[in-house]
Amino acid sequence: MKKNNIRLLFGIAILPALFFQNNITALFLQTLYAIFLALSSGRKFKLLPNLILLVGLSLAHLLQPNGLLLFTLGSFPITLGSLILGSHKAFLLISLIYLSQYMVSSRPTFPGKLGALISMQLFYFGQISLTWSTIVPKKPFIGAIDKLLFQLEEPSHDYKETFLSKDEKILPKVIHLILFWTLFSLGKVFANWPL
């Protein structure tokens, strides 16, 4: 097994613990843990898009009243069931985004011809990022793009296969996996607590 793929495989093993979680409190804790994993692997956290997703999904579900009526805004009913459904979906989606970020943070390698092509694409992407900064002037823009693409087709930029292999430790990943499934089990044990 390639070292680059260890995070990917552990992430896949964590996915069912998120998908089959019914308890919203446990799912919220799992979401926080997924954010922590993404942050620890060098990714950034932005509050606003997540808040918009949470509020947007909760509002969308309020349009279909469900469960206990909490209060009404004019003639618009605010129901507990709809709020829980919306926020449950939002927490699941947010946790999947950050778990996905963690899974691909070690640049997993894919097998076969497609895998080789993806490696080639990422190689060229690195070359473009390096070459673009050396292109002066950048106006006219199409002229600058032309220069960039011509330079990349020169033999000096021929594709060389490079592998990023970080020193991946297994033990922390096993702990992450156990914690996610522990939260999943707690969600099942306290199925009706607190919501």
Binding site: A60, L63, L93, S100, S129
Partner: protein, 175 residues
């Protein structure tokens, strides 16, 4: 479309990398709404119509989705699903229009049709995965924003294929 028998994988990988580069450029452009997208990464797909074979074209679409998912880290999330659905829909529609209408349709028309197909599929996915029937409320602003950005992208693509010497070289070698 081109009719090469041997696939030029290096050229496809280069265009796919260019799509990734454009999506990082787009990431740096401030947007009024967090989820709004200009779709700059679709430029290689639009200009690729004239210089790629069918197989190369769909390979480019697939690489664009996987590459973006890997770079942004959203490959295994619902965003990856939306990206796959939108890109497959837009690339299929753009390719069909390019084959059927050939020189009778401009890249502006192709860009608008591709963006509309992508947005319709993404709204349907939003209905199924996220919002349920409330998706109808996000559809109008989403489609209008898509129309505006696709017009801008289509105009740029038209200008690119007429002025770029790099494109001209590949167009001539593909004939």
């Amino acid at each position: 479309m081109t009719h090469r028998t041997k696939m030029n994988v290096e050229f496809v990988a280069l265009l796919a990398a260019f799509a990734l580069f454009l999506s990082t450029v787009e990431y740096m452009i401030p947007k009024p709404i967090p989820f709004m997208r200009i779709g700059l990464a679709n430029l290689p797909l639009i200009i690729g119509l004239g210089v790629l074979t069918y197989r190369e074209y769909f390979l480019l679409a697939l690489l664009k989705v996987i590459g973006q998912g890997l770079i942004s880290g959203t490959l295994f999330s619902y965003i990856g699903l939306f990206s796959l659905g939108g890109t497959l829909a837009s690339s299929t529609v753009m390719l069909l229009l390019f084959i059927v209408f050939k020189e009778k349709i401009s890249l502006l028309g192709i860009s608008i049709a591709g963006a509309t197909a992508s947005n319709v599929v993404q709204i349907e996915l939003a209905r199924l995965v996220l919002f349920g029937s409330a998706a109808r409320f996000i559809a109008p602003p989403f489609l209008i924003a898509g129309l505006i950005t696709s017009i801008l992208l289509g105009l740029f693509a038209n200008r690119f294929v007429t002025t770029s010497t790099w494109y001209k070289k590949h167009k001539e070698s593909s004939l």
